[in-house]
C-alpha cells in the first residue's frame, strides 16, 4: 500500500504552498482522498462562497485524472446536481503532467468562466443562455444559501 512518491510530494507541496483560495487536505485514513475548499473567485457569482469538494486519486493516477466532485450545492452550467464537474481536463484532455494543484486552479477558473455553450441537456445551462443576468442572480442566491460557512 505504499503511496507513490509523486502523491506524497504533491501533497507536501500543496500543504507547504497552498494556491490562493484553495485548500486541499488528505484524509488521515486515505491519503489519496482529499477534502478541498475552493473560494469563489472575485467578480464571479460565487464570490464570497466557500465551496467544499472532494478529490480522489485513483490507482492509475497520474496516468488517469483525479476524480473531483462538489459537495456544496452550486448553480453553474457545467456542474450537475450531484456536484459532478464537466471539465475537459478531468476527462479526455487529461495529461499526466497536470497535478492536483493545476486541476483545482482550473476548477476555480471554471467558476469565473461558466460555459453554457457546450452541448447541454441541463436546465442551468439553458437558464444561463436565455437570461444570463437572471441565472447569475440565482447563482448568487445559491452561493449565499449554501456556500457560507
Amino acid at each position: 500500500m505504499a503511496l507513490p512518491k509523486r502523491i506524497i510530494k504533491e501533497t507536501e507541496r500543496l500543504m507547504a504552498e497552498p494556491a490562493p483560495g484553495i485548500q486541499a487536505i488528505p484524509h488521515d485514513d486515505n491519503l489519496r482522498y482529499f477534502d478541498v475548499i475552493i473560494s469563489g473567485p472575485a467578480q464571479s457569482p460565487f464570490e464570497g462562497g466557500d465551496f467544499k469538494l472532494e478529490l480522489f486519486l485513483p490507482e492509475e493516477y497520474p496516468m488517469a485524472p483525479p476524480k473531483v466532485r462538489f459537495l456544496t450545492k452550486i448553480y453553474h452550467p457545467n456542474i450537475d446536481k450531484l456536484g459532478r464537474i464537466c471539465l475537459d481536463i478531468l476527462k479526455d484532455k487529461w495529461s499526466p503532467a497536470l497535478q492536483i494543484r493545476t486541476v483545482l486552479l482550473s476548477i476555480q477558473a471554471l467558476l469565473s468562466a461558466p460555459n453554457p455553450d457546450d452541448p447541454l441537456a441541463n436546465d442551468v445551462a439553458q437558464h444561463w443562455k436565455e437570461n444570463e443576468q437572471d441565472a447569475i442572480k440565482t447563482a448568487r442566491q445559491w452561493t449565499a444559501q449554501y456556500a457560507h460557512a
Binding site: 507541496r13 490507482e59 481536463i89 486552479l105 471554471l110 457546450d118 445551462a125
Partner: protein, 489 residues
C-alpha cells in the same frame, strides 16, 4: 523484433555486426547501467504493461531511448555523500560489485565498440572528456577512489559511465516526480524530460484512438529523443543545466568544439535555475531553461531520431480496426440493456395505470425515479413522473458506446475467444436484436450521463482578469503557477 517500424532500421541495422543487432537477438542485461525492463517495484507495477517488451528492449539497446533506471525518491544535488550512497545502492541493485572486473560477460560488454559505429549521433563525443569524472566533487571523488578502482564502465570514447556520474546530475521526471540520471528521454516537441517508465505508459486513448499527445504541450504524435551518456547532446544538456559546474571545464580542457562554443557563450553568473532545483511546486512540468540557450527545436515525429508512443505498441493498428468494427456494430442498434430496461419500465407503468391502489404510488414513483436515474444524463435533472422520459443528450453518447465496446473486447479477450469470429457473430446478433427492439426505440433513445462539458476555462479566465494572476500559458517558463491550457475542442 521484426515488428519494429521500418524507420528504426536504416541507422542501425547493418552498420553493427555484433551486439544487439546480430542475428541471434540476444540483448544485453543492462545498457548504460540501466535495465531493459522496469524494476519489480516500479511506480506502475499495478498498471498493465501493454507495450511491446521486445521493441522497447531493442530501442534501449540501440540507445534510442533511455533504459529503465532506479528512480530516486529524494535527491539533493549539493549532497554528494547522499548521491554517492545512492550510487552504490544502484550499483548493488544492478548487480555490479566493486570486485567485479570488466570482462566480456559483464554488463560493460553492452558498450562495445560496435555501438559507437552504429551510433552516428555520437559524433563529437570521442574527443569530449567526461566532465563529471574529471571534475567530481571532492567527496564523491574520494568515495569513488575507495570503492571502485577497478570497475569502470567505459563507452566507446573512453568516458567512464559510473552510477556516480550518471546520478550526479539527476533530475526529476515531471510525471512520476522521481529522480533519474540526466540521460533521460526528452519530448521531441517541447524538449521536456520524461523517464522511460512514464514514457512507456503513454499511449493512444482507448476512447478516441487518437495518437497520444505530449503530456507537456499537447502536441500530437508524442515521441521522445534520447541522448546517451557521452554523446555531445547529452553533454550540452548538462552544461545548460549546470553552467556553474562546467565553467572550469570550458576554460581548461574542453576538447569538443561544440561544447566549447556553447560554454563560451555561458554567462558568468551562476545560480541559474536548473530542472532539478525547481521543486516543481505548481509548475506544470516546465523546468525553467537557462536563458542563454535556445530551446531545441521540435523534431518531427517521423524523424529517425524519434521514438513515438506508437512505436512501442506496433499492434495498435490492429486494435484500432477491431474497435472500429465493434463501434460500427454498436451503432446499428441501441444498446440492449437500455432496451430491456425500457421494456421493464413499460410493464411497470402498465401495472401502475391498471391499478388504483394508493399503495402503488410509492413504488411507482420509485420506479419513475429509477428510470431517470437509469437513463438521464443528469440525475434529478427533472423528477417528472412517467410522462417525462428524458431527451437524448448530445454530449457523451459516442464515448459511452466505445466504452461498451472496449469492455466487451476485454471480456472476449479474457475468454480467449477468437475475436474476429465473435465480433462478426455479435454484430449479426445485435443487428437482429435491433430490429426486434425497434418498437422500443423511442423510449430507449435516451441517456447521456454528464452535464455539458466545458473546455478548460483557463484562457477565458485569464482574459477576464480574475484569477489571471495565477493562470498562465503552459510554457511560460517563469511561472510558478502555470496551468495547462489544452486546445479548445
Amino acid at each position: 523484433m521484426g515488428n519494429s517500424p521500418a524507420k528504426h532500421s536504416p541507422e542501425h541495422h547493418g552498420s553493427s555486426g555484433s551486439g544487439a543487432s546480430s542475428s541471434a537477438p540476444k540483448l544485453p542485461q543492462t545498457v548504460d547501467l540501466g535495465n531493459l525492463v522496469p524494476s519489480p517495484d516500479s511506480v506502475y507495477k499495478n498498471t498493465p504493461q501493454d507495450w511491446d517488451h521486445d521493441v522497447v528492449g531493442k530501442l534501449i539497446t540501440e540507445h534510442r531511448m533511455a533504459p529503465f533506471y532506479v528512480g530516486l525518491a529524494d535527491f539533493d544535488e549539493n549532497d554528494y555523500e547522499a548521491a554517492a550512497a545512492v550510487a552504490s545502492s544502484v550499483r548493488a541493485k544492478s548487480g555490479l560489485t566493486t570486485t567485479d572486473s570488466p570482462s566480456a560477460g559483464s554488463p560493460a560488454a553492452s558498450l562495445s565498440p560496435s555501438d559507437a559505429a552504429s551510433e552516428p549521433r555520437r559524433i563529437g563525443a570521442e574527443r569530449t572528456p567526461s566532465f563529471s569524472s574529471q571534475h567530481p566533487p571532492p567527496t564523491l571523488r574520494a568515495k569513488r577512489s575507495q570503492s571502485m578502482p577497478s570497475h569502470l564502465h567505459r563507452n566507446q570514447s573512453g568516458t567512464q559511465i559510473t552510477p556516480e556520474n550518471l546520478y550526479r546530475y539527476a533530475l526529476e521526471c515531471p510525471i512520476c516526480f522521481l529522480y533519474y540520471p540526466a540521460n533521460i528521454n526528452y519530448s521531441r516537441c517541447c524538449d521536456q524530460p520524461i523517464c522511460t517508465e512514464c514514457f512507456v505508459q503513454i499511449k493512444r486513448s482507448d476512447a478516441t484512438l487518437e495518437p497520444a499527445s505530449c503530456p507537456f504541450c499537447v502536441e500530437t504524435n508524442f515521441g521522445i529523443v534520447y541522448h546517451a551518456p557521452g554523446s555531445a547532446e547529452y553533454q550540452m544538456k548538462l552544461i545548460q543545466a549546470h553552467p556553474e559546474a562546467f565553467s572550469s571545464v570550458s576554460e581548461n580542457n574542453l576538447a569538443s568544439p561544440v561544447a566549447a562554443q556553447l560554454s563560451a557563450s555561458l554567462p558568468n553568473e551562476s545560480g541559474l535555475p536548473s530542472p532539478s532545483s525547481d521543486d516543481g511546486s505548481g509548475s506544470l512540468a516546465v523546468p525553467p531553461q537557462p536563458a542563454p540557450f535556445k530551446r531545441r527545436q521540435s523534431v518531427s515525429h517521423q524523424s529517425a531520431l524519434v521514438v513515438t508512443s506508437d512505436d512501442l505498441r506496433p499492434n495498435w493498428l490492429r486494435k484500432q480496426q477491431q474497435l472500429a468494427a465493434i463501434r460500427a456494430a454498436n451503432q446499428r442498434r441501441n444498446t440492449l440493456p437500455i432496451n430491456a430496461h425500457a421494456a421493464a419500465v413499460r410493464r411497470t407503468r402498465q401495472l401502475y395505470l391498471e391499478s388504483d391502489s394508493r399503495d402503488l404510488a410509492g413504488a411507482a414513483s420509485a420506479a419513475a425515479a429509477l428510470v431517470e436515474g437509469m437513463s438521464q444524463s443528469h440525475p434529478g435533472g427533472g423528477r417528472h413522473m412517467f410522462g417525462g422520459l428524458p431527451r437524448a443528450g448530445r454530449g457523451s453518447r459516442a464515448p459511452r458506446q466505445v466504452d461498451v465496446g472496449s469492455n466487451y473486447l476485454e471480456a472476449m479477450r479474457n475468454m480467449g475467444a477468437d475475436l474476429e469470429e465473435l465480433m462478426m457473430m455479435e454484430a449479426i446478433r445485435r443487428s437482429l436484436q435491433a430490429e426486434a427492439n425497434s418498437e422500443a426505440a423511442d423510449s430507449a433513445a435516451t441517456a447521456s450521463s454528464s452535464p455539458p462539458p466545458a473546455t478548460t476555462p483557463v484562457a477565458t479566465a485569464a482574459r477576464a482578469e480574475e484569477p489571471a494572476s495565477t493562470v498562465q500559458p503552459p510554457s511560460a517558463p517563469s511561472s510558478s503557477e502555470s496551468v495547462h491550457v489544452p486546445p479548445t475542442s
